[in-house]
Amino acid sequence: MTFKDKINSDQFIVCGEIGPPQSCDGDVIRKKSQYFKDIADAVNITDNQTAMPRLSSIASAKILLEEGVEPIIQMTCRDRNRLAIQSDLLGAAALGVRNVLCLTGDYQTFGDNPEAKGVFDLDSTQLIATVAKLNSGYLLSGREMKKAPEFLIGAAANPFAVPFEMRLIRLCKKIRAGAHFIQTQPIFDLELFIKWIERIVEMGLHEKIAILAGVMPVKSANTLLRMRADVPGVKINDEYIQRMEKATDPQSEGVKIAVEIIRTVKNLKGIRGVHIMPFLWESIMPTIVKEAGLRN
């Protein structure tokens, strides 16, 4: 059963995320993929995450396919113009990749090459429309292809950043451009997230698109504090920071928080699955999934 079939069915979806290394060591991906095998329905592979050069997401996806894990490649607009995006997408489709998450991308000054030229030829909405057009059998130039790719198109949504209404408008645009599923930013503010999803259900958007809630297990209070300071658009409740600071074993407290969030969002109307992002902590994935009761 492919990820596409699962999205189209009613089952609860679990996605993971792997960050490729900053080296050419493919074994890192192979090792990390074992934590997701038979647990996650599909695994995101970040594309030069935090604007640092890493092993390419399409190459990593090929390794995952060999390991029997279904990949979702992330595609950012920061590093490619429309020519490169089309050729990379066709290349990925030829290698057997079936899922793509369309992102705008972190700005280059956040990474280790702040002097770089950011491309941003397309934005994420236009990238979704581009993939949809490739799916329909045409290149951007209007030329017909002999064989069309069949991508399942993902998009990101941030329920926590201002202006909130504009976020919903943008989500509507992404759906209209042709997105099939949405992955949200990591939830560290349940109250706001519940308000957001209620709004989505009210508008009926949850029937048009599968929404996967983002969950990020963290190892220490420091990680949360650093995220709050350095990652714009992430909202972290003081409650979680205090809990992590007080805990004698911060790692198990981190797991506990993640499991709690998963259990809450699982019962919300409009949520079709979770997207777990164990940033630099892939080994914790089986524990979280088991404790949250998502898989036996």
Binding site: D106, D121, A132, M166, P232
Partner: protein
């Protein structure tokens, strides 16, 4: 199906027209640069973005804010600046032009960079500006999605 969002079917620009475009751009700049800080994309979408130039965004986003807007509404890249899409939303709400934010802006045609947007509208290369919006109150409720699809 979504070809209208991404394709261009624009007539080529002749040398004569380019010259005229440059001439016109001088006068366009006199107005648009001081008032809107125009970035000369040649594909003006000012009317659909509450008359705030979206091209002042560091990522030059044409379809809404990236995920990084700070809690105070400032830009993730330059914390001292406003997120331009935050300003666009606020201005659109103030002017009653929320409806226009739903429009998906097409991929930027870089051939039109540094050409006169006025001439491009006249030559039907880009959409004409929308001057008046009616019944925007309904759109503020964000339930128009059903109507559009």
């Amino acid at each position: 199906m979504h070809s209208d969002l991404v394709t261009y079917d624009t007539p080529p620009i002749s040398e004569r027209e380019r010259r005229f475009s440059r001439f016109l751009l001088f006068f366009e700049d006199l107005i648009k640069v001081p008032i809107f800080r125009c970035q000369h994309c040649g594909e003006c979408i000012l009317s659909s973005t509450g008359f705030v130039c979206s091209q002042r965004c560091p990522k030059r986003l044409r379809n809404g804010p990236c995920g990084g807007t700070r809690a105070d509404g400032h830009c993730e890249v330059f914390p001292e600046r406003w997120c331009i899409w935050y300003k666009i939303y606020m201005r659109s709400k103030f002017l009653g032009r929320i409806k226009l934010l739903y429009k998906i802006n097409r991929i930027h045609n870089w051939n039109l960079e540094r050409t006169s947007a006025w001439l491009n509208v006249f030559k039907k290369r880009i959409d004409a500006p929308v001057l008046f919006v009616r019944n925007d109150k309904e759109y503020e409720k964000l339930d128009d999605f059903q109507r559009q699809n």
